[in-house]
Structure formats: structure tokens, C-alpha cells
């Protein structure tokens, strides 16, 4: 099978079913957590937190947020570890991406971008934030949930602070993530299956893979 060239009408599997389910369960939990947290963050929305129902929903969503990866990771130990390592692996092509990204995303210049792996540099940045602030969220959240009556005041104060900083960073980048995945004019291709399809059906067009994830495409070719 080696050396077989995929034609542009073909499709490649980008995300397996389990990975897609994890993505959507985690995003649903995040959206719930985002809005039930937002009511404590924006003063005019404070009235929505009265009676504490938002805080109960926040806890239910928090369980999903923690349990989903805890189920996924042991079942997909190797790929999870590899994926997490990727978030911390940065090279020359990432700098090249950062340099050409404004031209691509603003002006639609589709040339000059160094070939990308299955995650491009932008996706990798988001993935890195998800890992780092996911951990900060969970630790600070656990302190506030479980040790609220037992922990010293200073620890609880730091937990609120860390939770808020994580909220600001991931909350803002969450919109960027949705925008680039779904709303950006270049992502709304009528002919190709792109990032959005990768998370829905799991498959992307071979042409899209070649032009947007060149390194990954080559790797797939090699593997046949």
C-alpha cells in the first residue's frame, strides 16, 4: 500500500469516535461552566446566581468536565500521552505559522505557510491552554468545593483568584476557538470537509489535509 496517493475526492479520518465524544462532552461541560461562572463575574448578571441554582449546575458540569477525560485517557493511554506531549513541542514551523497567520486569517493568503502537523500552531496554542488551565481550574475548583469550610482563608482566596484568571484566559480563547473552527470565512468551505467536519464526522477532505496539515498528510501517506 505504500506510496499510494490519495486523490482529492478521498477523505481521511482525523478524529476517532471516542475523541469526538470526549470533545463534545467536554465542550458542553465547559459551556455550562462558562455561563454559570459568568454570573458571578459580571455584576449586572449577579441576580441570576441568587438562590445558588447556578452553583449547583456548575458542580454537575464540573463533574462531567473532570470525569470525561478521566475515562478517556486510560482507554486511549498512548494517543493521549502523545497528544499531550505535542502541546509542549514547538519548532521552526510554529514560528513560520505565527508569521503567516495574520495574512492567512485576515487577507486570505493561502500560500507561504509551513506544513503543519495534525494540529496547526494555533490549535496547539489552544490545546496547551486547555491542558494548563484545565489543571488550574480543577485544582482551584476542588479546593473551593471540597475544602470550603476546612481550608485556610488565604488558600481559598488564591483559589478564587486562580479560577478567575483561568476563566478570563480560556473564556476569551474559547470564542477564538469557535470562531476559527466554524465562523471564519475561510473555514466555511462548501466543497471541502474541514476542521468542523473533523469534529462531527471525524473525516476531512484529503485536499484540506494536504493544504492545511501537510506534515500530518505526509505521515498518513507513509502509513498508507
Amino acid at each position: 500500500m505504500q506510496g499510494r496517493t490519495k486523490t482529492d475526492s478521498e477523505e481521511l479520518l482525523k478524529y476517532r469516535t471516542q475523541t469526538r465524544v470526549l470533545h463534545w462532552v467536554h465542550s458542553a461541560a465547559f459551556v455550562l461552566l462558562f455561563f454559570t461562572g459568568l454570573v458571578l463575574f459580571v455584576p449586572p448578571l449577579g441576580f441570576l446566581a441568587e438562590d445558588g441554582y447556578t452553583r449547583l449546575i456548575h458542580r454537575i458540569a464540573a463533574v462531567l468536565f473532570v470525569v470525561a477525560p478521566l475515562v478517556y485517557i486510560p482507554l486511549n493511554w498512548k494517543s493521549s500521552l502523545q497528544g499531550m506531549k505535542k502541546a509542549f513541542r514547538w519548532g521552526v514551523d510554529d514560528i513560520g505559522w505565527l508569521r503567516t497567520a495574520p495574512g492567512y486569517y485576515f487577507l486570505g493568503h493561502e500560500t507561504g505557510m509551513p506544513p503543519q502537523d495534525d494540529m496547526n500552531t494555533g490549535q496547539k496554542m489552544w490545546w496547551l491552554l486547555v491542558i494548563i488551565f484545565g489543571v488550574v481550574f480543577v485544582i482551584s475548583g476542588l479546593i473551593m468545593w471540597v475544602f470550603k469550610t476546612a481550608a485556610p482563608s488565604l488558600l481559598l482566596q488564591w483559589a478564587v483568584f486562580a479560577h478567575d484568571v483561568s476563566f478570563i484566559v480560556t473564556g476569551a480563547m474559547f470564542f477564538v476557538h469557535i470562531y476559527l473552527g466554524v465562523l471564519h470565512p475561510l473555514m466555511r468551505s462548501k466543497t471541502q470537509k474541514t476542521a468542523w467536519d473533523a469534529m462531527i464526522s471525524g473525516r476531512v477532505s484529503a485536499e484540506y489535509a494536504r493544504s492545511h496539515h501537510g506534515k500530518w498528510y505526509q505521515e498518513m501517506q507513509r502509513r498508507g
Partner: protein, 265 residues
């Protein structure tokens, strides 16, 4: 309306805890089952059912054991942190300068407890669901049982048999307290101190102490935690800015990118 306050003279307090009982009685708070911890101080800490208690700090009186009594309850700070951190604005300041709250608005987040230098607000918390409501001393100004509004004394002051608790205009109580402190200082208590005149930009519970505040278990220099400033005055406004800038930036990108993509087509 003028600022009111309580002047608590710890040197006149006998630890009878009449105030503690009167507080529970007026505010309809139930008693708590406690266990013997080897101290007469009971219950061990403030709670949603105990808004006021007397602390028994054990001391050495020239070889003999002794007690320093302290009134423990909300201090009604001028620079109240609870007011600043409450996300639902359940905590408010009333016309006399006291810090009160609307229990119906409380979300149970517990930030007031976490950030209070005296840890005065207390909630009855379900640790699993996080369901909680904050409670604390309102200086008997709770709606429906407002003694101050009716021209009465706070329940604790009304019941105090030794005159250790006095209620009145804060300005007058500050000068009364100062006079009392200088007389104590002249009579063998060189460390006598008026606590609450300046602490937290002025408390509405003033303490005449015969010793340093720490001896009574009071924080020597209570202040708003530095994290309040970093969190409420820097990080949160920054967060609103970052959020708005992100949405604005994405909208701009959409307009520019759509025009350019169309051109290329």
C-alpha cells in the same frame, strides 16, 4: 443619619454570655450541640446559628490563670471587604454605617467568609451541593426585626448587666473609649488600647482592651487581603476588557476576511 456603634469594654466584661443568649433569642437562632473541648468558651466558633459569642482567651495573671473576654461578631467595618466581594450585592451598608445583608439575594458562594479578616460571616453549607446561605450580625437591623429603626438598643447591649456594652453615636463612643483607655493606661495597664478606631478604616464595634489585641485573639492589623485588590480591582476589570476586545477583534477579522475572501473568489 449619624453613624452609630457599639463600645465594648473588655475590662468590664464578666463573660456571662447574656449577650450571646440575647442575640440568639432576638434573631431566632437555635442552640448548638457541642462537645467539651476543655474550655468554657462555647460554641467554639461563630456559625450561621451563632452570630455573637464571647471568646475566652486564657492568660497568666502573675502565676494565676485568668481570662481575657472578647466579643466576637461582625465588626461592621467601614472598609468592609464582604461588601466588595459579594457578587450578588446581597451585602449592603445601612444608614447607620452597619453592614447588613439580604438573605434572599445570597448565592452561597462564601467569598465574604473567605475574604473577611475576622471570618465573621458564616454559612450553613452542604458540602456536596454547595448549597449555602450566609449569616452574620446585622446589629439588630434585619428587616422585620429592626430594633435600631424602632429606637431600641441592639439585643446584646440591652441585656449586658455590667455596662460592658454601650450603644450610641460612633464619634462620642470613640472619645469615651479614648478616655477609658487613658485611665486604664494610668492605672497599671500600659498596653491598654482602643481597637476599631482606625482598623479597617474604622469599625462600628469599638473595643476597650486592657492588653494588646493579640492577647484577646484579635488580629493586630486587620486589613483587606491584598488579593482583593488584585482580584477585584485589576484582574476582573482586565477580564471584562479582554472579553470585549476578543469579541471586537473577531468581528473585525470577520469583516476584513470576508471581503478579502470574496475578492479572491
Amino acid at each position: 443619619m449619624t453613624e452609630k456603634a457599639i463600645l465594648y469594654d473588655a475590662t468590664l466584661c464578666t463573660g456571662c454570655r447574656g449577650c450571646q443568649v440575647a442575640c440568639k433569642s432576638w434573631n431566632g437562632l437555635s442552640g448548638e450541640t457541642t462537645t467539651n473541648r476543655g474550655s468554657y468558651e462555647n460554641p467554639p466558633s461563630l456559625s450561621s446559628d451563632t452570630w455573637l459569642k464571647i471568646g475566652f482567651a486564657e492568660t497568666d495573671h502573675g502565676g494565676k490563670p485568668g481570662w481575657l473576654f472578647t466579643r466576637q461578631a461582625c465588626m461592621h467595618c467601614t472598609g468592609a471587604v464582604c461588601l466588595e466581594v459579594c457578587p450578588t450585592k446581597a451585602v449592603y451598608r445601612n444608614a447607620n454605617g452597619f453592614v447588613s445583608y439580604d438573605r434572599d439575594l445570597c448565592s452561597g458562594c462564601g467569598y465574604c467568609t473567605d475574604f473577611c479578616p475576622f471570618r465573621a460571616p458564616q454559612g450553613d453549607r452542604n458540602v456536596l451541593t454547595g448549597n449555602a446561605r450566609m449569616d452574620k450580625c446585622t446589629m439588630c437591623t434585619s428587616p422585620g426585626s429592626d430594633r435600631i429603626g424602632d429606637g431600641e438598643l441592639p439585643a446584646c447591649v440591652k441585656t449586658c448587666p455590667t455596662g460592658a456594652l454601650v450603644f450610641g453615636d460612633r464619634d462620642r463612643l470613640v472619645s469615651d473609649g479614648k478616655a477609658r483607655v487613658s485611665s486604664l493606661a494610668a492605672n497599671g495597664s500600659p498596653d491598654a488600647y482602643l481597637y476599631g478606631e482606625k482598623e479597617m478604616r474604622g469599625l462600628h464595634v469599638l473595643y476597650v482592651l486592657g492588653d494588646r489585641p493579640a492577647a484577646y485573639g484579635l488580629p493586630e492589623n486587620p486589613e483587606a487581603p491584598p488579593l482583593v485588590l488584585a482580584w477585584k480591582d485589576i484582574v476582573q476589570p482586565l477580564g471584562w476588557f479582554v472579553g470585549a476586545a476578543t469579541l471586537l477583534g473577531l468581528s473585525m477579522n470577520y469583516i476584513v476576511a470576508r471581503a478579502n475572501v470574496k475578492k479572491e473568489e
